[in-house]
């Protein structure tokens, strides 16, 4: 497959996954801000900006950090490249450039999503309509992934689409965890308190893992288990480990010329995630572990770009 085409497909899938993740983060943040503790308000509001790396850009556009301003900035602001709006636009633009290499169903899904988001007014995503909007974004992303899985020929287009989706997801899960890691650490004053319980369930819900937690652990919520589920549990489809199982499978099917560096790093990461133990990770520091992961994800992205997709 042409590198340019693979590049478009890879980024098309990343952007759609990113839109979904921003919607998830904003959805959970809304809940935490509306129903959570006042003392954590500021911190909860800041989390989405930290996760998407847009604190500075936000400060330029908005004076006060309010829920309304946050949603306006991350949902529909077309000047913010990390907004849901921008992600859906970029996903559609990438698809447009390769619409003859993807299925018409994939193209139509992304095109229809873009046409719809373009017509959504700001008022609709502020306040009561917000949850509905975030659910719609998630649904469109589910639909796109399903359509892709169900229609595209098993070949390089499929491989690079999966690679983009799961690298983005792994990155996102790690970022969410890293911003929230301190709530998972044992702290003297409010261990097991109602306050943290709320934070933990919110964290689980942000990656659709609340039911999974109950199903797998059949226990009350312990922070260390939350971390284990999101980092190491391969049966949990949004865990970092599960993403790397998918990434490994995609890379196995891709025949590159000089791609040892890509496959070696992906293999190392999978091994690290398969053989680690959550107690060990906490001992070495969850934050340190996640920081190392995030650095490696960036490096993996760079290597993928170099080996298959053309100039960085």
């Amino acid at each position: 497959m042409l590198s340019r085409v693979a590049d478009r497909i890879f980024w098309m899938s990343r952007q759609m996954e990113r839109a979904e993740n921003v919607a998830r983060i904003l959805g959970v943040t809304s809940n935490l801000v509306l129903f959570g503790a006042r003392e954590r308000q500021e911190e909860n509001l800041h989390a989405p900006l930290a996760i998407t790396g847009t604190s500075a850009a936000f400060a330029v556009r908005h004076k006060a950090l309010t829920l309304e301003a946050l949603i306006a900035f991350l949902a529909l602001d077309e000047t913010n490249p990390s907004s849901i709006y921008s992600c859906l636009r970029d996903a559609r633009d990438n698809a447009h450039a390769v619409r003859w290499q993807i299925t018409s169903e994939m193209w139509e899904t992304l095109n229809a999503t873009w046409l719809e988001v373009r017509g959504i007014k700001r008022e609709r995503v502020i306040g009561a309509g917000a949850t509905q909007f975030f659910d719609w974004v998630k649904e469109r992303s589910h639909l796109f992934r399903g359509v892709t899985y169900g229609t595209i020929v098993r070949g390089e287009a499929f491989n690079f689409s999966r690679l983009g989706t799961f690298l983005e997801r792994a990155d996102n899960t790690a970022r969410i965890l890293d911003v929230k890691y301190h709530i998972l650490l044992p702290a003297a004053e409010d261990v097991g308190g109602a306050l943290d319980y709320y934070q933990w369930t919110a964290l689980l819900r942000s990656v659709s893992a609340f039911e999974t937690y109950s199903a797998l652990y059949r226990d009350q919520i312990f922070p260390i288990k939350v971390a284990e589920l999101l980092v190491l549990e391969q049966r949990m489809p949004r865990s970092i480990a599960a993403c790397f199982v998918e990434i490994g499978q995609s890379l196995e099917r891709i025949q590159g010329e000089r791609d040892h560096a890509v496959k070696r790093l992906a293999g190392e990461l999978l091994a690290r995630l398969t053989h680690s133990d959550i107690d060990e990770i906490f001992l070495g520091g969850l934050h340190e572990f996640l920081t190392a992961c995030l650095t490696d994800f960036t490096e993996l992205g760079t290597r993928i770009q170099r080996a298959y997709l053309g100039m960085v």
Binding site: L2, S3, R99, W100, W107, E108, E257
Partner: protein
């Protein structure tokens, strides 16, 4: 403008011609609402598939549909066979001419064509001198525009030997007709055109520079904002080959490669839908971002083939057009089977005098123009338009040719008030490689405005399916 026209469907006594009989019966028996409904369905389908056309000069960069008319244009097989003979003859002579002007230039020495007509032509590429091409073919894909005059005679209106487009509409129109009106295909034998992409691929493989089982052939496009991008993508998909842009290719050690996820892959044949000037910034326009640096040197080294060949445009120039009948006589020793439209060359003083005196009756075209831009149709223009054109003509006479206004034949067409006659032309596509190949049919373009003679899609023309029937 009252003029007699050849009606494709009805003879002078209004009787339906035999090859239109099945369609006429079907039209008479089918309720108007059903036909109207089918037209809407066709529009919807074309929109969904995205068969659109970017319009130059439209500030919005708008994409729009080329209107599709559901009444087919029908040609009896016997007549088609006569056309084919004429088309083969004409394209063979044009290819001989191209080989000649880049080699021994016999036709110039023989005084048949003035040397400056060829050698100072902006489409003449000195870089092609002495270069031997596989099978000595230059115009691998030729689109020859034909029209039928009021006496029923076919005329060649122009030759398109650079990057003729429209074949995707020929194929999509047929697919649409089969989908909308399968019953029509049961009523009579309609010759298939669906194998065009296979013939094109065969033709492109014919010209591969090295003997090999399977040459790597690609389609090269200027990109998704080009007006014919849909067609480029469509043909690549139909042939199952890569659609590349300039940036996907590079030249190393005299060979052309494409960048793929599996590393570099050598490219043998490029079906390029990009003009000569943009092919190679090192050789032609240095500001071209669409081309591939070094492509010309790889081409000259014989390591890659281009279709059509660089410099083919010198043969389809509208001022060269007038000499094509002489080319046929000179190279093939035959009389032309397809007629040329009488042409005045405005660079000649006596021709210019005639043309300026008769602007109101003539069609005047730029010699390098295409797409119906920059032309004057005398009988359809106002006095002011004619005066404005006269100034442009006087300023640069060599840039223009003039022809009598032909009365293009008409074909029944759906318009707002029902079925009415509209003017049509025909562009068959002639493929030349190891042998000459063409599918029975072509692209029929139709001028949708009453009385209009401009069929170009960029100027509001539509298209029809073209049937060759027994």
């Amino acid at each position: 403008m009252q003029q007699r026209h050849y009606d494709e469907m009805r003879a002078a006594n209004r009787a339906v011609r035999p090859h239109y009989r099945a369609l006429a019966e079907w039209l008479a028996a089918t309720p108007a609402e059903r036909v109207a409904e089918k037209r809407r369905e066709a529009d919807l389908l074309f929109h969904r598939v995205g068969i659109t056309f970017a319009v130059y000069g439209d500030r919005q960069g708008a994409e729009r549909l080329i209107p599709f008319d559901i009444v087919p244009r029908i040609i009896p097989h016997a007549e088609w066979q006569t056309l084919v003979k004429g088309l083969r003859q004409r394209v063979a002579a044009l290819n001989r001419f191209l080989h000649d002007v880049y080699h021994s230039q016999d036709i110039l020495r023989a005084g048949i064509i003035p040397p400056q007509q060829v050698l100072t032509n902006s489409a003449y590429q000195v870089a092609m001198l002495g270069l031997d091409l596989p099978h000595q073919v230059y115009a691998h894909v030729a689109g020859i525009d034909l029209v039928r005059h009021e006496d029923g005679t076919w005329y060649v209106l122009e030759d398109n030997l650079r990057t003729p487009s429209g074949v995707s509409y020929m194929l999509e129109n047929r697919k649409m007709m089969m989908r909308l009106f399968p019953e029509l295909f049961e009523r009579q034998r309609i010759y298939p055109v669906e194998h065009y992409p296979a013939l094109l691929l065969e033709t492109l493989r014919d010209i591969a520079p090295r003997a090999m089982r399977e040459a790597t052939v690609v389609v090269m496009t200027p990109g998704q904002y080009n007006s014919a991008y849909f067609e480029h993508a469509f043909l690549a998909q139909q042939m199952g080959i890569e659609l590349v842009e300039g940036a996907d290719l590079f030249v190393k050690d005299g060979h052309v490669f494409m960048r793929t996820t599996g590393g570099r892959q050598r490219v043998d044949v490029i079906y390029r839908r990009i003009d000569d000037a943009f092919l190679d910034p090192l050789a032609f326009r240095e500001d071209s971002l669409l081309g591939v640096p070094g492509l010309l040197s790889a081409y000259r080294a014989g390591n890659v083939s281009l279709a059509n060949a660089i410099g083919s445009g010198v043969a389809d120039d509208k001022s060269t057009y007038a000499y094509v009948p002489d080319m046929i006589r000179f190279y093939l020793g035959e009389e032309p089977l397809l007629a040329n439209v009488p042409t005045w060359q405005c660079k000649r003083a006596e021709d210019l005098a005639y043309v300026t005196a008769h602007l109101a009756e003539l069609v005047v075209k730029e010699v390098q123009g295409s797409g119906g831009y920059g032309m004057l149709i005398g009988p359809a223009s106002t006095a002011a338009q004619i005066e404005a054109f006269r100034e442009r003509l006087r300023a640069n006479p060599a840039n223009y040719i003039a022809q009598p206004t032909l009365s293009l034949s008409t074909c029944p067409t759906f318009v707002e008030r029902g079925i009415a006659p509209r003017h049509v032309d025909l562009r068959p596509f002639v493929l030349s490689g190891r042998e000459v190949r063409l599918v029975p049919g072509g692209l029929t373009r139709v001028a949708l405005d009453d009385g209009s003679l401009v069929v170009n899609s960029s100027q509001g023309g539509g298209t029809k399916d073209t049937w060759v029937v027994d």
